[in-house]
């Protein structure tokens, strides 16, 4: 019988048990073109998870059968995707849907997804009326599918590849990509993405190449159910950013779509592999529909002397969860995380980050700020830093500040450092408060009324993170967005 762990009383398969295909409750569909051995045991799997897995697989097989014949290059890519899907399948079927008794979902309520009818979006919408307003080289992913007609990659230097795995023709890049596909284990959502992603977007930066202009990846969510319909279309975009030694690139990921009333589930994964001495500046802006679910994984692997900077501004989504996992694979790394979460409505903004240091002299700073401006709003932060035995002379700092502006607004913060090495400098701090009296008084003493003062101070609270966004156009866009979001809440406040 499965080992019941303390944390999860649900069924968990003991991996040593042999698993056979058996006559399951759910019949294998016959429209599949490539037969696969499905490895699962119905009695031990969570039925809801199973159901999602089924529908994802079905939609993939139906879309691949209806698409045109593949060329030789795409066969290697389809092999890679197959490998990914198989590995994900195994994990999915042995993982239960997270409940409040799982530590990592203790404060996060996933019932928005759990009690909806999840349907995969197998094709991007036929006619797409999306405006692309960016001056940077960009690529658009609509409902999880790459849309080349909306992309403009002309300004990228030679040697840099940005595109879907199936359109990748270079053997070398393909080989490199295959080293990283399916070698990290995230949680159930990670695996669901692996199972259901239609294609992998690869961003490859060759050694020594400094990409001047950042790559702007725009994720649009178009299809969505109306509120109350319980329909939740799911998209699984997946991106792999592979930067070889000495390469440098900025990546902007922007998630938009649907206005306030569209319900959908964006289940995204971004993997970043940073070679020795390479640098990646990652900006992540999430402003999806206020009725949607947004679950994102960012998994980073940092080679020695590499630098990774993440700046996140998340304002959308009824349920928004960002999982960040950074693994150090060499010494002397620099990691800077700055995140800003804003809940203006009945929203949950969740950041679960984990930084694993196994090599010496790593430097990291994490700043997390969140504002909860609604009495039903919630923010969750779990910041884990593991300084393992060989990570001597690590300098790690973490600070989280939360602003609660309404009664009954909730914030749950859990900064945690697990330190085994003995020659390190680590610090963490957390503060939850309302606006500072002294600062408010300074405004009053200069004739500025209380409401204007509050507005300015609330906006400036997030400003500390927003001003770290490296591109001024993006920064201005985000600033306008935040101002507009904060405006109606402040009219109601005393």
């Amino acid at each position: 019988m499965a080992a019941a762990s303390l944390l999860s009383p649900h069924f968990l398969l003991n991996p040593k048990l042999s698993i056979q295909t058996s006559a399951s409750k759910f019949p294998i569909p016959k429209s599949r073109s490539t037969p696969r051995t499905r490895v699962f045991s119905a009695t031990f799997s969570d039925p809801f998870v199973l159901q999602i897995a089924e529908t994802l697989e079905d939609s993939l097989s139906s879309s691949s059968s209806s698409s045109s014949s593949s060329s030789s290059s795409s066969s290697s890519s389809s092999l890679l995707l197959q490998k990914l899907r198989d590995a994900s399948s195994q994990t999915v079927l042995s993982t239960a849907w997270p409940s409040r008794k799982d530590e990592s979902f203790r404060f996060t309520d996933t019932s928005l997804i759990r009690y909806s009818q999840v349907t995969p979006i197998s094709h991007p919408p036929p006619s797409i009326a999306i405006s692309i307003d960016t001056q940077f080289p960009n690529i658009s992913i609509v409902d999880g599918h790459i849309v080349n007609s909306l992309s403009n990659l002309s300004q990228l230097p030679t040697g840099v590849f940005v595109g879907s795995l199936s359109s990748l023709s270079s053997e070398t890049i393909s080989k490199r990509v295959s080293e990283f596909v399916a070698n990290f284990e995230g949680d159930l959502f990670w695996s669901l993405n692996g199972l259901g992603t239609p294609d992998l977007v690869v961003v490859y930066v060759p050694a020594g190449c400094r990409v001047e202009m950042p790559l702007h990846i725009m994720y649009h969510s178009v299809e969505g159910g109306d509120i109350g319909s319980k329909k939740l279309p799911v998209s699984n975009p997946r991106v792999l950013v592979l930067v070889e030694e000495g390469g440098e690139i900025g990546v902007i990921e922007e998630y938009v779509g649907g206005g306030e009333n569209k319900c959908y589930w964006a289940n995204a994964v971004t993997e970043v592999v940073i070679g020795e001495g390479a640098k990646v500046k990652h900006s992540y802006i999430q402003s999806q529909s206020l009725s949607a679910a947004h679950i994102k994984w960012t998994s980073v692997q940092q080679g020695s002397s590499s630098s990774y900077e993440l700046i996140e501004v998340s304002t959308g989504g009824k349920l928004s969860r960002h999982n960040v996992n950074i693994q150090q694979v060499g010494p002397d790394t620099v990691t800077e995380l700055s995140t800003f979460h804003l809940s203006v409505g009945d929203q949950t903004q969740d950041l679960h980050s984990k930084l694993v240091l196994d090599h010496p002299r790593g430097y990291s700073r994490q700043l997390h700020k969140c504002i909860v401006a609604h009495s039903l709003g919630q923010a969750v932060f779990d910041g884990n830093i593991k300084v393992n035995r060989y990570a001597q002379q690590t300098d790690a700092g973490q600070l989280t500040r939360s602003l609660l502006l309404e009664p009954r607004a909730t914030v749950n913060v859990k900064p945690n450092l697990q330190i085994i090495a003995d020659n390190v400098k680590c610090s963490h701090g957390a503060a939850i408060s309302d606006l500072e009296e002294n600062q408010l008084f300074y405004f009053l003493a200069r004739g500025i009324d209380s409401e204007t003062a509050r507005k300015a101070l609330i906006f400036s609270f997030g400003g500390e993170v927003i001003e770290r966004l490296p591109y001024s156009l993006i920064r201005k866009k985000v600033e306008t967005q935040i101002k507009a979001l904060l405006e109606p809440t402040l009219k109601g406040s005393p």
Binding site: E437, N438, Y442, F443, A445, R446, A456
Partner: protein, 335 residues
């Protein structure tokens, strides 16, 4: 005329006695023979607390100049009567009946114009800063008695922002940082609040920048300073100069400078003093709270008040300051 002169002669300071007006015991004033015909008698006997519209002539305190200057009517700017206050949290009494009178400056023309500078000095813990904070309306302190009238209106009933818009400016002793709000945005907000009050259209950022650029020269600061966040990463001197810049931009009828000289080096002090001096015209007045004489050498005080134990115990002119410097506060309180 002479008797009227005697009656009319008073100075803007009071002792701890209950009568609102007394003469300064041992200062030497120069009597001027007034030719102005608008001298009127003060009604000293009024025990009511109505605002006195003082129209009598003040004796000039600056002995060196302005003989026979045509004096015009003086208006009261600030009148503090028996002000008592406690710390809101602990209810500990800090102010024990402060009495102070600040009038507008006088002077017939620009050449001989003088403006009224009051200096408040005292030992640490005597209540000087508390006094200024109470005037500005800081929530840490609660007024338990007395009245304060500013330009004829009851100051204690006004909210802090109303007090500021009425023309009362206080420069803080330790200005706090406001990370995330830039100097220019902050000044723009405050300036527009004033414009709104006067019924004038508000200034947008570009027009405001045009208005504010020349003011930067007054405090000897560069333009890049405007884009920095309010007091963030500023040295002590820069913070104080920022306060004066705010004063220059917003204007005030009465400016209270709370220890503007603390933490300033010699050059910064000169800059600040020069800036303050250049900002005032006839109707404005300054209340400086300080420990040291240095600043008073640049901004010449009309009156010096000594504060002790939460009240003003003595008032004099610059000569008193010299005594203070040489012999300390004990010499003053004894005399």
């Amino acid at each position: 005329m002479v008797s009227a002169l005697e009656m009319a002669q008073f100075c803007c300071a009071c002792s701890s006695q209950s009568s609102p007006l007394t003469f300064i015991p041992n200062s030497s004033f120069n009597f001027r023979s007034f030719t102005c015909s608008t001298t009127r008698f003060l009604s000293i006997g009024t025990s009511s607390r109505r605002p006195l519209s003082l129209t009598a002539n003040l004796a000039s305190v600056h002995s060196a100049e302005a003989s026979g200057v045509d004096r015009r009517d003086k208006k009261i700017l600030l009148e503090v009567k028996d002000l008592t206050a406690v710390i809101s949290e602990s209810k500990q009494q800090i102010l024990n009946g402060v009495n102070l009178l600040v009038c507008e400056g006088d002077g017939a023309d620009e050449v001989t114009a003088v403006y009224i500078v009051h200096a408040v000095m005292g030992k640490n813990g005597s209540g000087k800063s508390t006094f200024s904070k109470v005037l500005v309306g800081h929530p840490d302190y609660e007024v338990t008695g007395g009245t304060v009238e500013f330009k004829g209106e009851n100051l204690l009933e006004m909210d802090p922002e109303e007090r500021s818009l009425a023309g009362l400016f206080m420069s803080f002793q330790s200005p706090i940082e406001i990370p995330g709000v830039s100097n220019i945005d902050f000044l723009n907000m405050a300036y527009n609040a004033r414009r709104r009050k006067l019924g004038l259209p508000e200034l947008g950022p570009i027009e405001f920048y045009g208005y504010i650029s020349p003011k930067l020269d007054i405090v000897n600061m560069k333009t890049d300073f405007l884009n920095r966040n309010v007091n963030e990463g500023f040295s002590g001197g820069e913070r104080k100069r920022n306060e004066i810049l705010q004063l220059a931009v917003l204007g005030a009828d009465l400016a209270i400078l709370d220890e503007i000289d603390s933490g300033l080096d010699v050059d910064a002090l000169k800059d600040v003093a020069k800036a303050v001096n250049s900002l005032f015209n006839l109707t404005n007045s300054v209340l400086i709270i300080t420990h040291y004489l240095r600043l008073l050498e640049y901004i010449k005080p009309t009156y010096i008040h000594i504060m002790e134990g939460g009240k003003i115990v003595k008032t004099g002119d610059i000569s008193m300051a010299k005594v203070l410097e040489q012999e300390g506060y004990k010499a003053i309180s004894k005399a």
